[in-house]
Symmetry: C2
Subunit: 447 residues, 2 copies
Amino acid sequence: MKKSISGFSKLSKLGKLKWLVENFFKDPERVMKDLMSYWLHDEEKQKIIDGFSENTISNFYLPYGVAPNFLINGHTYCVPMVIEESSVVAAASSAAKFWLSRGGFQAEVLSTHKVGQIHFCWSGNDQLLYDHLDRMKEVMLNRTSNLTHNMRMRGGGIVEIALLDFSNQEPECYQLHIKFETVDSMGANFINSVLEELSEVFNKYVQEHIDSNGVEIIMSILSNYTPECLVRAAVSCRVDELGEQKGSLNAHEFARRFQKAVRIAHIDPYRATTHNKGIFNGIDAVVLATANDFRAVEACGHAYAARDGKYRSLTDCKIEDGLFKFWIEIPLAIGTTGGLTSLHPMAKRSLELLGHPDASTLMMIVASIGLAQNFAAIRSLVTTGIQHGHMRMHLINILNRLEATESEMKAAILFFKEKQVSFAAVRDYLAQLRSEAQTEDAVAIPT
Amino acid sequence: MKKSISGFSKLSKLGKLKWLVENFFKDPERVMKDLMSYWLHDEEKQKIIDGFSENTISNFYLPYGVAPNFLINGHTYCVPMVIEESSVVAAASSAAKFWLSRGGFQAEVLSTHKVGQIHFCWSGNDQLLYDHLDRMKEVMLNRTSNLTHNMRMRGGGIVEIALLDFSNQEPECYQLHIKFETVDSMGANFINSVLEELSEVFNKYVQEHIDSNGVEIIMSILSNYTPECLVRAAVSCRVDELGEQKGSLNAHEFARRFQKAVRIAHIDPYRATTHNKGIFNGIDAVVLATANDFRAVEACGHAYAARDGKYRSLTDCKIEDGLFKFWIEIPLAIGTTGGLTSLHPMAKRSLELLGHPDASTLMMIVASIGLAQNFAAIRSLVTTGIQHGHMRMHLINILNRLEATESEMKAAILFFKEKQVSFAAVRDYLAQLRSEAQTEDAVAIPT
C-alpha cells in the first residue's frame, strides 16, 4: 500500500484523523477514540489550539508545574515550568530555596536590540552604495513609517541600518543589517513585515538613483542571533555561607569543586554542551510556559556560546575575597505580548502568575531559572552525582505506567536501590511479585 | 506579602494548586477551576503525566499534527509533529509533497556512538596513568559487567575508553572519555549509571595500584555532544525538474538563488542561527512527538554547527552536472525505547504511526524533516518571502481567539490584506465591525 495522499490539508479534522488511523494503525477505531480522548471539552479553546498549527488531529500533553521561592531583584516569584524531564522542576525549586536565604538572584537587562537582515547581490561599484547610504536610510525610514507607527508609539522601531560587505567571502554578496527595538514583543512578525517592505524601498531607491537594474534581493528576514538582546543574572554569598553539602563536603571544598566544574565547561566543548543543555532545561520550561519560541532561544543561546570560536559554558564562576560568585549572561529574545503569548490560554495564566511582567522582567526571570538549573546540576554532580535522585524518579514513572499499587511501589523502590532501572527490569520484577502474590493467595485459600 | 513557602513539594496536587491561586491570582476560584479544566479525565493517564515532572498542577497543551507524504528511503511516512508555531507543519508537508514526485529523501546513519565523561584531578605524574591504562580499562569493563549485561545482550555497551589530558588548560585536569553504544535507547540513564560506577572502579584501581590517595573525581556524566551519532539526509533532482517557482522564477534561477541563500548561512552566523533555527522547528516537532529530549538534540546540533570555529549552516547545497543536491548532516542522539518514549501515551502513538522504527530509522526520519523544513523555508524566502502566508495564519489565530464569526473572518482577511496584523489592531477592527453591525440593527428596527 502506498500511503501518500493529495489534498490532506483540505480534509476536516475528523477526516484527517480517519485517513490517518485507517492507513497507519492496526486498530483504527480504538486509536481514533484514544486520540480524540485528548481533545479539550471546551470547543472554543480547542479551536484556538488547533489554529496554532496545521493538520492538527489531537493535543500533546506536557506537565505544567511550578517552582516557588524564586527571589529575583527582591521580588518573590513562583515560576511556571513546562517540561517533560524529571528532576528539572525539583532542581530549580531546590536552587531557588537555597538562594532565597542568601540574597536571591540579582538580574539586569544589558540591552534589548533585535536584528533583521536584507541579503542582496550587487555587481556594481560598492562605493556607490556607501555614498548613498545616509540618504537611502532616510528614505527607508520614511517609506516604512506607516508600518512602524504603532511600534514607535510604544517606544520601539528601527534603531540602526548598516551596510555590510560579504563579497570577499561570496561574490557580490552584501547585507543591510538592521537593528530593531520591539519593546515587549519578541517582534518576529513585526521585523519580518518591515524587512520585506524595506527591501522593496531599498531596491527602488537603487533603481532610481544608482542603477536602473537595481540590486538582486536574495532574502529579507529577522536574525534569531541577538547578542545585543542580553540579560545577566547572578548569585553570590560568602563562601562559608554555602554551608556543608551532601557527602560531608565543607563549604570551601564545595566551592572549589563547583568552580572547577564550571571551568571544565569552558575548556571542553563536550562538557559545555551538556552544561548548557542543563541551563536550557530550565530556560525552555519557562519559555514554553509563556508560549515563547524555544527554538529561537536555543539557537541564539548556543550560537552565542560559540561566539569566540570555541563552544563554551554560558555561566561563569569566581571565588574572590571570600565571596562565591556565579552568573550567566545570555541573549533572550522573548516577549510578553504578541505572538502566541496572548493567544495560548495557559500562557496567559503563566504571565498572570508572574505578575504580568514586561519583556525585560521576563528576560530576568528566565535567565535566573537557567542559572538556578545550572547551580543545582553542578551541585549534584560535584557532591552525590545525579543518578541517585534521577533513577528513583524514573523508577516511579515506570511503576505508574505499570499501574503499581502503593505496596508494590514500596517493594520495588527497595528492590531497585542497588540495581539498574529499566522498563523491562521493572516489568519483570512486578510480574514476579504479582505471580508470587497469586501463589500466596492460592496457597492461602485452602487453609 | 512575602510569597515564599516551605514544604511546597510535599503538598498534594490540590494543595499546591490552592496555595498557588490564593497567593498569585486575583480570582482564585475561577483560576483554580480553569487550571483543573485541563486535567485529563482518565486519572491513570493523568497520573503518568504528572509523574514525569515535579510540582505539577495542570497540563500544557501543544497542537499534535501530522505531515503526510514523506518518502524516505522508498518508504512513505506520515510524520507526527508537536509544534506551537504556525507554518511549520504546512512547510514540512509542502516540501514532502514536492520531493515525493522527485525521488524523496535518501537518508543514512553514519555512526551511532554516544559519549560519557569522567572528569578528574590528578597531581601526580600522568605517565603513570597512561602506563596503567590498558589494565585499568580491563578492570573497569569487568567490574561494570553486571550493569552493562542487558545492553551488551542487545548489541551495545562500552565501546572505548580514552584518557585525555586537559592539564595545559586547567591545572591537574584530566578526563576519561568513554564511547558507548546504546542501540535503540537514547541511553542517558544507562550511560550515567555506568559512569558513576566506572568512576568508583577507576578511583579504586588508582588507589590500589598507583597512589593510595587516588584521583579526585570532579564529576561523571554523559556528554550531549555526540558528533559520532550522526545521520545524513539528502534530496536531489535535475535542476529543470525543480520546475517554475512562485514569482515566475524559472528552475535555474531558483536553484541559483537557493544555493546562494544556503551559502550565506555558511558565511554569516547571524543568518546561520535563523537558518538552523528553522531546521530545528521541524526536528524538535518530531523529537517532542516521540517524547525524546529536544534540549539534548538542540544543544548537540548547535555545538556541531560551530565545530570548525565558526557557527554555520547545518545544511549544504551543490549544483553540479545539471543536478540540484541539498543535504543535511546532523548528530541526533534519540531513542525509540527507554526514557519517556514508552511512558508518554502520545509518544507511543507517534511511534506506532511511524511503524515502530528503531533508533536509526527515527534518526533518518527526523533528519529528513529537518531538511524538508529548511527546503521549504529557503524556497519561500528566495521566492515570495515568508510573511504573506505567515501573517494570514497569525491573523486567523487572533480571530479565533476573539471568537470571530465566519463572516467577520472573511471581512478581516480582506481588510488586513495590506495592513500590519497585531492583536490590538484586529481587536479594534472587530470592535468597530461589531459596533457598526449594531448600528445597522438599531437603524433597521424602526423601519
